[in-house]
């Protein structure tokens, strides 16, 4: 067979494919990206999802509402607490239960702690994606401190299952306030260290500025939410627009940036950590007295109808849509997961960049694969 000179072929025929994943260090899970390359240039990305599909939505149809909480933990396992909260708020809204302030405040503090630890882990992994392994250990070191707080109060470290319809599983630990305050004091000193290690680095700037630019229009049309969407200027913070729990009584600013590149997604998350600390500081000294849970019926049955609740997880807007036929099990549950929408934009923004940029862009989207597959 005669050999062809492939450089004379048209562009489409010079391409070759590599499978990034399902086992690949930079996809953070079992995501498979079918990447079409020309040399080092990314021509097309086809995400293949479903490798960790666990049928959570289907399973929800055969279990009761308090049990659903424990499945939502496993979706976006890095912001487990916020996922739980979404289901609880939905159930409470359907039953029209009045939630005492104490529960609301504790839920808000827990949510913000979850957000901080999620961003810490993201920072750690993002640094690792770019080749700075030291970031990983710094991020995890500080995340441990939050996980310790969780462990003391909730019993779990990552999969906390602390919320339940009508309130919380248990009251906060007596040490909780002190430990959270200690952590905030500690982390305010440590966060500038993150900047010293990565943000100010010239190599990091080169690698992230102008890479994977996402415009505001695209962010809206792809439904990209969370820090990723806000870095493009899409004001999508559910905490601001539709305040739930105690977000209506705290002062915080929605981080809005305009660049929409990898660097601004990075900055957005770093800034969110500062804002989360502000929110916690406003609430931690003012936890009202009261019960930690409202007395609910032993078997929770939602009235017939459709219910939707959205919350802001660390990665974007999580929507829980429940159709009830009046039974103790939901008729149908649908989760609008932020990661699925965020993944959909990957091909759009990473096309035309290099493999190394694809890794950086993928890292900046902060994808959690079980949340995509559910």
């Amino acid at each position: 067979m005669e050999e062809k000179d492939i450089t004379s072929l048209p562009d489409e025929q010079q391409e070759y494919f590599i499978n990034m994943g399902p086992q690949h260090p930079s996809t953070h899970g079992v995501l498979r990206l079918l990447v079409s390359l020309k040399g080092e240039m990314v021509k097309n990305i086809e995400p293949h999802v479903g490798y960790i599909h666990s049928g959570i939505e289907k399973m929800c149809e055969s279990i009761t509402y308090p049990q659903i909480i424990h499945l939502t933990d496993r979706m976006d396992y890095i912001s487990a607490h916020i996922n739980n909260e979404a289901v609880c708020l939905n159930v409470e809204k359907a039953l029209e239960v009045e939630i005492p302030d104490r529960i609301k405040v504790i839920r808000t503090i827990m949510s913000e702690l979850t957000r901080i630890q999620s961003h810490q882990l993201w920072w750690a992994c993002f640094g690792m994606d770019l080749g700075g392994l030291t970031c990983f250990f710094y991020g995890l070191r500080d995340r441990e401190k939050i996980l310790d707080i969780f462990e003391e109060t909730c019993g779990g470290r990552m999969i906390v299952s602390y919320n339940c319809p009508g309130g919380l599983m248990y009251d906060i630990h007596p040490n909780f306030q002190k430990r959270v305050k200690d952590f905030i004091k500690y982390f305010r000193k440590i966060l500038p260290e993150y900047d010293q290690l990565l943000t100010g680095n010239v190599i990091f700037h080169e690698r992230s500025k102008g890479i994977g630019r996402l415009t505001k229009e695209d962010a809206i049309s792809f439904g990209v939410t969370g820090p990723t969407g806000r870095a493009s200027g899409f004001s999508c913070d559910v905490r601001k627009h539709e305040p739930y729990s105690a977000y209506d009584r705290v002062q915080f600013k929605e981080i809005l940036l305009t660049e929409g590149d990898t660097f601004s997604r990075y900055v957005a998350r770093i800034e969110e950590m500062w804002e989360s600390m502000n929110i916690i500081e406003q609430l931690i000294d003012n936890i009202p007295e009261g019960p930690f849970a409202v007395k609910m019926k032993p078997i929770i049955k939602l009235p017939e109808g459709e219910y939707y609740q959205r919350v802001e997880t660390a990665r974007g807007e999580l929507g829980v849509f429940v159709i009830s036929d009046g039974n103790k099990n939901p008729y149908r549950v649908k989760f609008r997961s932020p990661n699925f929408s965020n993944l959909s934009v990957l091909n759009h923004i990473a096309k035309g960049f290099k493999i190394a940029d694809l890794v950086a862009i993928g890292g900046s989207l902060d994808l959690i694969i079980p949340d995509i597959d559910r």
Binding site: P25, T134, F137, L198, R207, I355
Partner: protein, 379 residues
């Protein structure tokens, strides 16, 4: 032909007291040479000496490799807030030996549709290239396997041969990740070879010789990094950067960027073949650190300041070998330091750095150095 029994009258004795050998190994090597000459013909003497040197270098190679892997893990742990290896032996010093045995006993997985001959050849090319380079390095006064009159050129040439092994490994593995890694490595080493060469030429201009022993001797009254004013310092920085790139270490470890290419060119290797690549990386780091220490920091020459006779005399009490090891490990520590601090560059940025910044700076630097030497401004 066996020598006459008459010539073996008495074995020559060491010309200096035994403890002074650490200051000047030439007495010891001359004594060994003479004794061998007395015992056998010149041909067999040469063969025996080559064998001795080969075995010694091989031993040294293995020891340095093992130590560097341990050192890297400890330094990395120190940077990252961890403890590092601490279970096998006191402070985990036997960890690398345990790892070595693990790698020795591991299965060598055959790869389907791989080019078997080249696949097996590649690790040997990589390791032989680094092995050859180590021969030309002066370790201490009189401890120098071959003192070539083009020592600098030889080291550059030989250490660059390793890229052939990397390219072969990537090409023959029948793996796209490996191929991308190998191609990156090829582009990278070919580019950065220029900067390494030019940075060394800056010092060759100052020293007036390419012979490593002459370069070391010329630093008797002050190391070149101090003698050469700013150009020598710039050359040192450029050498550090480009030699890190040449040894494929972070932040220039694009050939094996694990977050992008899993393990790059050695993805498909297992067991001892992988260990060869692994070891060669550390020995290459040792070689470039040695060259940096020899050419810029005086090699085994103690820290001397011009005419301060008393001070120089005190410094002479520290054996040259200690000076050499100390300087080499100082440079290695710097290289580890920035490996564990910086994120990785992208391939086009890497080449931009070389061709748009380092190369022009280097050329101007050589010119300035030549001007300084011409005007006799160095001291």
């Amino acid at each position: 032909m066996l020598p006459d029994t008459a010539t073996i009258t008495s074995s020559p004795s060491l010309s200096v007291p035994w403890w002074k050998v650490v200051y000047d190994f030439s007495a010891l090597t001359e004594w060994i040479d003479k004794s061998l000459h007395n015992a056998m013909s010149p041909f067999w003497t040469t063969i025996t000496e080559l064998l001795i040197i080969g075995v010694l270098i091989l031993l040294f190679y293995a020891l340095v490799g093992l130590f560097l892997v341990y050192a890297e893990r400890k330094v990395c742990a120190f940077m990252q807030n961890r403890l590092g290896p601490n279970r096998v032996g006191p402070f985990g010093i036997f960890q690398t030996i345990a790892d070595l045995f693990k790698l020795l006993f591991k299965e060598l997985i055959p790869i389907k549709n791989a080019d078997g001959f080249l696949f097996n050849l590649a690790p040997f090319i990589v390791i032989i290239a680094s092995f050859m380079a180590i021969a030309a390095i002066p370790f201490a006064r009189g401890l120098h396997a071959i003192d070539l009159n083009i020592g600098v050129l030889y080291v550059i040439a030989v250490s660059a041969m390793g890229v052939i092994g990397v390219l072969l490994a990537g090409w023959s593995s029948n793996n796209k990740y490996s191929l991308i890694g190998a191609m990156r490595s090829g582009a990278q080493i070919v580019s950065y070879e220029l900067s390494v060469g030019l940075a060394l030429i800056t010092i060759v201009v100052l020293a007036g010789s390419m012979q490593l022993s002459v370069i070391v001797e010329a630093q008797r009254d002050g190391w070149f990094i101090f003698k050469g004013h700013i150009p020598a310092f710039i050359a040192f920085i450029i050498f550090l950067v480009s030699s890190t790139a040449e040894t494929n270490r972070g932040p220039f470890d694009l050939a094996e960027a694990e977050s992008e290419l899993t393990a790059g060119y050695h993805t498909e290797y297992s067991g001892i073949k992988f260990a060869f690549f692994f070891l060669a990386e550390y020995i290459n780091m040792f070689i470039v650190a040695s060259i940096a220490a020899t050419v810029f920091l005086g090699g085994w020459m103690p820290f001397h300041v011009g005419h301060w006779e008393g001070f120089n005399h005190i410094m002479d009490f520290i054996p040259p070998f200690i000076w050499y090891i100390g300087k080499t490990f100082f440079v290695i520590f710097i290289m580890m330091w920035f490996k564990w601090t910086f994120p990785r560059l992208r391939i086009d940025q890497l080449l931009t750095l070389e061709w748009k910044y380092l190369l022009p700076i280097n050329l101007v630097n050589v010119l300035i150095m030549a001007f300084i030497v011409l005007m006799g401004w160095h001291f």
